[in-house]
Amino acid sequence: MIALLIRDLRLATRAGGGFGLGVAFFLILCTLVPFGVGPDSSALRPIAPGILWLGALLACLLSLDRIFALDAEDGSLDLLATSPLPLEAVVAIKALAHWITTALPLIAAAPLFGLLLHLPGPAMPWLIASLLLGTPALSMLGAFGAAITVGLRRGGLLLSLLVLPLYIPTLIFGTEIIRRGQAGGDPATPLLFLAGITAGVVALIPFAAAAALRINLR
């Protein structure tokens, strides 16, 4: 298990592994938004939480096809499926590796991007908290989508369509936390909901994803 995690992390940081591309994409998105909606901080501040969450979500989304597709192409997935590791554990580990290589750098960089979008200082801790709590669910749901589309040739857009609706609850509660924190309200309720969603997803989705993989392997 540890070996699989280490291998995936190593692959991501070697040449062509795409480590850091997610952050770069996030940066571009944050740059593009003011071009779309105008440079005033009064226009940017209210949408900043939403944009930051959407950016995280899309950066996640665009890196999903790396989770299983590369392993399926070079035959590793067959070998992993016949190894002593249960396929559920493989899914969970790969989602974890995706989270570490994509979401974690993104969370680390998020305050910086918050500055770009004029997110006020008091909202920053809530931004971090909501991302830390919510992104594991994004990675896990993404792994499920990737498992379903692993056999398809250019599944990118289809993958997005399958996965985005699954992301909606996470997105809603995530932004609500920031908004309430920013307004000085009480973000406990959405925090609780978000934690519940993430816990449920992390506990149950690996089984669904492993089932999807088994179907695609045979």
């Binding site: 040449a15 062509g16 591309l21 770069a24 940066l27 571009i28 740059t31 003011p34 071009f35 440079p39 901080s41 500055l115 770009l116 004029h118």
Partner: protein, 241 residues
């Protein structure tokens, strides 16, 4: 001997080994003295001690643009005359340029906090630098992603060409989109707008220092790339044999 001779890796290794100690030494000297001198300059009556940031901010901003231009020239030399070292020099320069852009952005942002009251404004000057950073990142990411070195050199060359046009275009678009807060060029020749000599001479020195620093770093990095390429070439021959 024509200047193109230096495009031969062996000759380049020899020549750069000779130049490198001098460039590195001069770079260290100019940068350190310039920065210390700059740090000791008196306060500005308007900006207070923040004026000292200029000795990092302006040289870095200048180099950020100049390095991209140098990459463009090197890419053109590769695309037209197929000198391999030229392509590797462009590759070597990109991270240096990206760091210079980052320094200009960071010092500007830190400066903006007391001057404009916010860390970041979507001022055209700042925004164009952010866009420049994006182009640097894309260029480096493409180099890292293409496995075949010949294709990588060609593709990044084409990207550099197209990217230059769009970086320029973006600058005009951004100017159209938002009015600026940032001051204009105060090194300009127009009298009255010039900054006083107290600031000007240390600034010249740090600018020279940053340029030499860039030169030294690019020479080292190009040598690194040449060694890596040679290693890969030897391995490829071994596999083929």
């Amino acid at each position: 001997m024509s200047i193109w001779e230096y495009a031969n890796p062996v000759k380049f290794m020899r020549a750069s080994a000779a130049v490198l100690p001098w460039a590195a030494g001069a770079a260290a000297l100019c940068t350190v003295i310039g920065l210390i001198w700059g740090f000791l300059t008196p306060e500005d009556y308007k900006q207070g001690s923040t004026v000292k940031i200029v000795f990092l901010h302006v040289p870095a901003a200048m180099m950020a643009i100049n390095i991209w231009v140098m990459m463009l020239v090197a890419s053109l030399i590769w695309l037209i005359r197929r000198h391999h070292v030229s392509a590797l020099a462009a590759k070597a320069a990109a991270p240096v340029g990206a760091v210079m852009t980052l320094i200009a952005l960071a010092t500007g942002a830190i400066w903006g906090q007391p001057m404009w009251g916010s860390w970041w404004e979507w001022d055209p000057r700042l925004t164009s630098f952010l866009i420049l950073l994006l182009f640097y990142i894309g260029y480096m990411a493409l180099w890292a992603s293409v496995e075949d070195p010949d294709s990588a050199a060609d593709l990044t060359g084409v990207l550099c060409l197209v990217g230059s046009v769009f970086a320029l275009l973006s600058r005009y678009a951004v100017l159209f989109w938002n009015q600026g807060l940032h001051q204009g060029a105060s090194l300009s020749v127009a009298p009255g707008e010039r900054m006083s000599a107290v600031y000007r001479y240390p600034l010249y020195l740090t600018m020279l220092g940053f340029f030499l620093l860039f030169l030294a770093l690019v020479l080292i990095r190009t040598r690194t790339e040449i060694r890596r390429r040679r290693l890969a070439a030897l391995q490829a021959k071994e596999v083929r044999a």
